[in-house]
């Protein structure tokens, strides 16, 4: 983009224009994705709880986020008397800045990234770890005990979960030998058995551990102790209302997409659909290829975000000591073990064993998913059209 712009304007203007366009596109993407994800969250939660979810706002309630947004903007923007007003006001924006900065280094397709960094994976982890600062400040500056407890819990949780999360990122990095997300995606070109998750058993496990710890560091249920509403009212955002409150949620959905995108790039083939044995942007031309790449990437990341929602509405919340135990006593040793395992695998395993492992793991995972879906679809006899609800006979 920079080279094209430089034909029409001096260098400095081209750089600034390119930066402005990238930032604008990313901001638009974050806004629109949060708009749709909030609607999806309500729909998913509704269906899981045997309700319909939003239905009145537009077709299948798709404009629900717009209605929410209008309501939130027209609400009064209050700050409690006992709060530190300045910190209270800037805390949501700090949280959002951290999540948003992660998108700068996230490639949506081959070379489709606003700033190509040779250490992109490290950079994304670094800026995402800054999000906790906004939450911590919100909790501290509110001048409320609920908010303070929420902030303290959030800090303890996020700082602990960062360790296994970063160790799990190192596992695929060991296999691919680069920290650049763009190069990682390019290395997974082709069929889906080329994805890093299927390279060896350690990577498959690392993907699962990474996904769980990433969910925890986005403070999503079952790890949402920072806003445990049954004990802390609403945790760190108890005192927030209106627009600032919604900025926290924008940040939460943005960082959900960011970690899901990172998981896709590290483990699940990035922007490759897994069914085309070549790089689409080279075969289909720049427009169609890049659009396909971006669509596949966004689709995959959205799938992971939907899994996060599914987990949120299916699993009960952990207690704070259980959250810390899960991280420090289980995930941390598991992540260290995976790292050692993948190093040994890279050093000693013969190439033909590696090839067979790839096929076994990828087709095994595929078969497992098909089996689970088949059982879920055909295995259970339920009345068609209506769901049984509370009148269902208890299973014997």
């Amino acid at each position: 983009m920079l080279a094209t712009l430089e034909q029409y304007m001096p260098h400095w203007a081209a750089v600034l224009t390119a930066a402005g366009i990238s930032a604008g596109v990313l901001l638009g993407f974050v806004g629109v994705s949060a708009f749709l994800y909030i609607w999806a969250e309500r729909k998913v939660s509704g269906r899981i709880q045997d309700r319909l979810g939003p239905t009145r706002t537009g077709p299948i309630g798709i404009l629900q986020s717009l209605a929410d947004g209008i309501k939130l903007i027209t609400k009064e923007d209050t700050a409690p008397d006992g709060s530190d007003k300045l910190l209270f006001r800037i805390a949501p924006y700090l949280a959002f800045c951290a999540s948003f900065t992660a998108f700068l280094a996230l490639p949506f397709g081959k070379d489709l990234v606003s700033q190509e960094l040779s250490t992109a994976a490290f950079f994304v982890l670094a800026v995402l770890s800054g999000e906790v600062f906004g939450v911590l400040l919100a909790g501290y500056s509110s001048g409320s005990k609920w908010a303070l407890f929420g902030g303290v819990r959030e800090a303890a949780q996020v700082v602990s979960y960062e360790v296994p999360r970063s160790l799990c990122v190192v596992v695929p990095v060991c296999v691919m030998g680069t920290l650049s997300l763009n190069a990682m995606g390019a290395q997974q070109t082709g069929w889906f058995w080329n994805w890093t998750a299927f390279h060896d058993p350690f990577n498959l496990l690392a993907f699962m551990v990474f996904f769980i710890t990433a969910t925890a560091s986005c403070k999503r249920a079952p790890f949402d102790l920072a806003e445990a509403e049954s004990e802390l009212v609403a945790g760190f955002h108890t005192e927030y209302s209106g627009f600032r409150w919604s900025v926290f949620f924008l940040a939460e959905y943005a960082s959900m997409f960011a970690v899901s995108g990172l998981a896709c790039l590290l483990f699940l083939g990035g922007w490759h659909s897994g069914f085309l044995p070549f790089e689409p942007s080279e075969q289909f031309g720049p427009w169609a290829g890049n659009l396909l790449n971006a669509a596949v990437f966004v689709g995959k990341a959205t799938l992971l975000v939907l899994v996060m929602m599914w987990m949120r509405w299916s699993l009960p919340r952990l207690r704070i000591d259980q959250v810390m135990t899960t991280c420090l006593k289980y995930f941390l040793p598991i992540a260290c073990g995976l790292l050692v395992g993948v190093c040994i695998w890279q050093l000693w395993v013969q190439p033909y064993v590696g090839d067979w492992t790839k096929y076994v793991l990828s087709f095994g995972t595929l078969a497992g998913m098909v089996f689970v879906m088949a059982v879920a679809t055909f295995g259970k006899v339920a009345p068609k059209g209506i769901s049984e609800g509370v009148w269902a006979k208890p299973a014997l």
């Binding site: 530190d84 300045l86 670094a126 800026v127 800054g130 303290v152 303890a156």
Partner: protein
């Protein structure tokens, strides 16, 4: 006056402004926020100079780690709602003199360095950094051993600090723990898993 100079000046000004804010603000946590501005500004300078790895490391260590711990520490230890530093006038004077002296020293030293010829070459990639760190392909000059010694030392210090901060268990002369003491401890201590900062007792 090209774009790089303007951007450098802008980021450096923000960094310096943050540093002044740290010194001038009386609230501890506000000083922490100003420190965030400074540290993020320094990371921005690194990115501007093409040292991506250094910039990201600056962010993950200082912003994600140190600053969070600073605010976390204030939240846990402060007695009142908002911790405020009471600075005496004499402290301002002494601190100002020291800071001015240090600034003058650094300014004079950096002026005497002269202007270096800058090349457009990119900074070394991460794998080159890692290889030279391990002493591969540089005549075997390795920094691995000192680094490992420092990191193990840090780990030992952390374990020792956790051990010292842990509540002592009272032991009877005949070797059994006092049952009343133990139950009281279980009620008042958080979670028993060596996690001194969780706020709930085990039910």
């Amino acid at each position: 006056m090209n774009l790089a100079v303007v951007l450098f000046a802008a980021v450096a000004a923000v960094t310096a402004l943050g540093a002044v804010g740290v010194a001038a603000s009386r609230s501890m946590v506000r000083a922490g926020v100003w420190l965030l501005v400074t540290l993020a500004g320094v990371a921005g300078l690194y990115f501007l100079l093409g040292a991506e790895f250094l910039g990201a490391a600056q962010l993950i260590i200082y912003v994600g780690g140190t600053l969070v711990l600073v605010v976390f520490g204030v939240m846990i230890t402060s007695q009142g709602p908002f911790a405020v530093l009471q600075t005496k006038r004499m402290e301002w004077v002494i601190g100002g003199l020291l800071a001015g002296g240090l600034f003058a020293l650094l300014a004079v030293a950096s002026m005497q360095l002269g202007q270096r010829e800058t090349t457009e070459a990119t900074s070394p990639a991460v794998h080159e950094l890692g290889l030279s760190f391990l002493g591969v392909g540089q005549g075997g000059k390795s920094y691995l051993l000192p680094f490992e010694i420092v990191s193990v030392h840090l780990l030992v210090v952390l374990v020792a600090a956790a051990y010292l901060a842990r509540a002592k268990k009272r032991v009877d002369p005949d070797g059994r723990r006092d049952p009343i003491e133990t139950t009281l401890k279980l009620e008042t201590l958080p979670a028993g898993s060596g996690q001194p900062n969780s706020s709930e007792a085990r039910p």
